[in-house]
């Protein structure tokens, strides 16, 4: 197991970063968030040309047969760009849920022709996978019920509903987007009204969410890195009292501490990507969630007034960071899991 980036990963990173810089820098994301947050043209290019949609899908099923480490690098870049594409929801969570059954839908997902989403609340966790959901299947195999806070549902062609340990593919559900804290990854309430469904196979939902949580740590790393880099650039430029703001020692020390947090977030993200064990995932999530929020909060503060304006994209990162802190388990949920995983028992 290595915590470094491979050459292949660096090439993948460069491709994704280049495309995002070209097509969808944060200022462009900001312009579209209120009308049509997802950039599906961009997604088509990312999925089809760079091939990110099929990264986790075996070659024989039409994918690239890559590992979580490659997907993690893509997520770092998508986090750096708060990129409005359904990679995490379709190419990680939904894909991972379909993999055990080697479902034919995987081929379509790999090509980017279709997009899927898991009908699970983004606020659910490996420890409480059912949070926000009330689904049932009747004798005729029709799914009923609703799930709140589903990410990626509004741009999904297929919804994957986990019910009682089985996974069902559904096309006729209604996803109603609600005003969301994270403008670049809005959540929807998904309603199934006796919708006919196809049973895909068994589903270890907690395992799927754990896998996703581990990779979310890489996205959070990307968010934190953008915030740190952008703030560094700003405080080097911005003058007050005839000095760059970044020459003031209190600011320098805060940024040094923040950098140190990000350095450790990188190690944690790499560890969870290479080894998506329960411990590594819980460590990465509990650390990186906090670092992303802290980095975004420091970015807003150190941008001063401009950081409070809608016109500067830093708020997109703050909102992404704060929503991601809740997504797939809060830091507290993951620390609680560690108590038994690493034998740090609580009071008796």
């Amino acid at each position: 197991m290595t915590l470094l980036y491979s050459e292949v990963e660096e090439e993948l990173r460069a491709a994704v970063r280049g495309l995002l810089a070209d097509r969808c820098p944060p200022a462009t994301v900001l312009k579209r968030v209120e009308s049509e947050p997802y950039d599906l043209d961009l997604w088509k290019t990312l999925a089809g040309e760079i091939g990110v949609a099929g990264l986790l899908i075996p070659e024989e099923l039409g994918g690239a047969g890559a590992s979580g480490s490659e997907a993690a690098v893509v997520l770092e870049e998508l986090g750096r760009g708060v990129a409005p594409v359904p990679f995490l929801t379709s190419a990680v969570l939904a894909t991972r849920a379909l993999l055990p059954a080697r479902d034919a839908l995987l081929g379509e997902l790999a090509e980017g022709r279709r997009t899927a989403a898991l009908a699970v609340s983004f606020a659910a966790s490996p420890y409480r996978p059912e949070r926000g959901a009330s689904l049932s299947v009747d004798g005729a195999g029709r799914v009923s019920g609703s799930v709140t806070g589903v990410a990626g549902a509004d741009v999904a062609d297929v919804l994957l509903a986990p019910v009682d340990g089985d996974l069902y593919a559904v096309e006729g559900a209604v996803a109603e987007v609600v005003p969301s804290l994270d403008l670049t990854r809005p959540v929807a309430t998904v309603t199934f009204d006796r919708v006919s469904a196809r049973r895909v196979g068994a589903c270890d939902l907690a395992g799927v969410l754990r896998f996703g949580a581990g990779l979310l740590a890489s996205e959070q790393l990307g968010v934190a890195e953008w915030c740190l880099d952008t703030t560094l650039a700003y405080v080097k430029e911005r003058h007050q009292f005839a000095r760059p703001v970044g020459s003031f020692q209190a600011i320098k020390h805060r940024l040094a501490d923040l950098w140190l947090d990000v350095v450790r977030a990188r190690a944690a993200a790499r560890s969870a990507a290479a080894d998506p064990s329960a411990v590594a995932v819980a460590v990465a999530q509990s650390w990186n969630s906090g670092v992303a929020v802290h980095a975004a909060e420091e970015a807003v503060q150190l941008h001063g007034g401009i950081g409070m304006t809608w016109e500067h994209p830093v708020h997109l990162f703050l909102k992404r960071a704060k929503a991601s802190e809740i997504a797939l388990g809060t830091p507290g949920d993951h620390r609680e899991a560690l108590a038994s995983l690493v034998d740090v028992p609580g009071p008796e």
């Binding site: 007050q240 503060q301 007034g305 703050l318 929503a323």
Partner: protein, 387 residues
Amino acid sequence: MNEAEIEERVAAFLGEHDPSGDRLEFLRARYDAGLAWVWFPEGHGGLGAPRELQQVVERALAHTPQINGGIQGIGLGMAAPTILTFGTEEQKRRFLRPLWTGEEIWCQLFSEPGAGSDLATLATRAVRDGDEWVIDGQKVWTSGAHHSRWAILVTRTDPDVPKHRGMTYFVCDMHAPGVEVRPLRQITGEAEFNEVFLTGVRLPDELRLGAVGDGWRVAQTTLMNERVAIGGAPTRRGGGMVASVLDAWREHPELRSHDLHQRLLSLWVEAEVTRLSGARLREQLAAGEPGPEGSGMKLSFAKLNQALTGFDVEFLRDLGYDDWTFRRSENVDFYGRGPGYRYLRAKGNSIEGGTSEILRNIISERVLGLPSEPRIDKDVPWKDLPR
């Protein structure tokens, strides 16, 4: 002038003016009777009385028509004391009465995109042209600009001297050609503030407040009146921002965890000791012995509000938001909005009215007596400053 005399005046005034009649007429009469702000001089809405006697008037007139402390806030709190200190008799006569009655609303044109914490570096130019001044520049974070009749404005009149010396202070006519007000949208979605663009705005020299080049000193008077104790209102134990978190906590036992519980207890304690500090500060003020503790209250409340609102969003696991609509809002309404709004709006608490960084500088130098950092901007002509 003592309490009894004030009460007598109020009684006499009420004998002559019917509070249930025309509101504006009543307020004008109150001003003319010297019962607007009793510590102001006679003839300008006051009686030259000690400031603490104002509460006698307020008590006695509590049932009568009131001015609007919200929308008139900048006029009453910042413009009025500045006009009183630096205005000519003519300026005081012209501006103070409609300012107090609320017939004319005021706003403040100080901050600029390039001059935030370092206000003295501001770049809005005022160039003399005969009996007039021509103003060009951009101001920002101006609340109420869109319904203001006047503004207090600081400008750069001499770029060739060090920054603190080349400024001049004006009353700006917000109806003058060349004044453009644009709402400034915040990260919460709404616009509490404005940007104000000044393009070739012509102001007669009679609108100058204080001497040419003396703008920094005039502005200090304004700012000293701004830094009133923020969060200084008395709250009960467990009140304020912690109350809305506690309400949610008590309503949702199913969302609690030991992690959140321990953090909430710590925040509760921090809120309580901060509340006690505020209470102690008010006792000191009442005893006429204001301590230096006031400088820290805003800093404490900003940190606490940010921690509490961040906690709230996490506790509720709330991925939604109530309303992103871009619209003007006159007031901050923390409690009428959702947790996401409170979280985002509270981020401004450590920026508006002096950043927490600047407040720490002030505390360390003025309260703790620590030496200032080496300054490189004191003796350099403004135009040569690195930017």
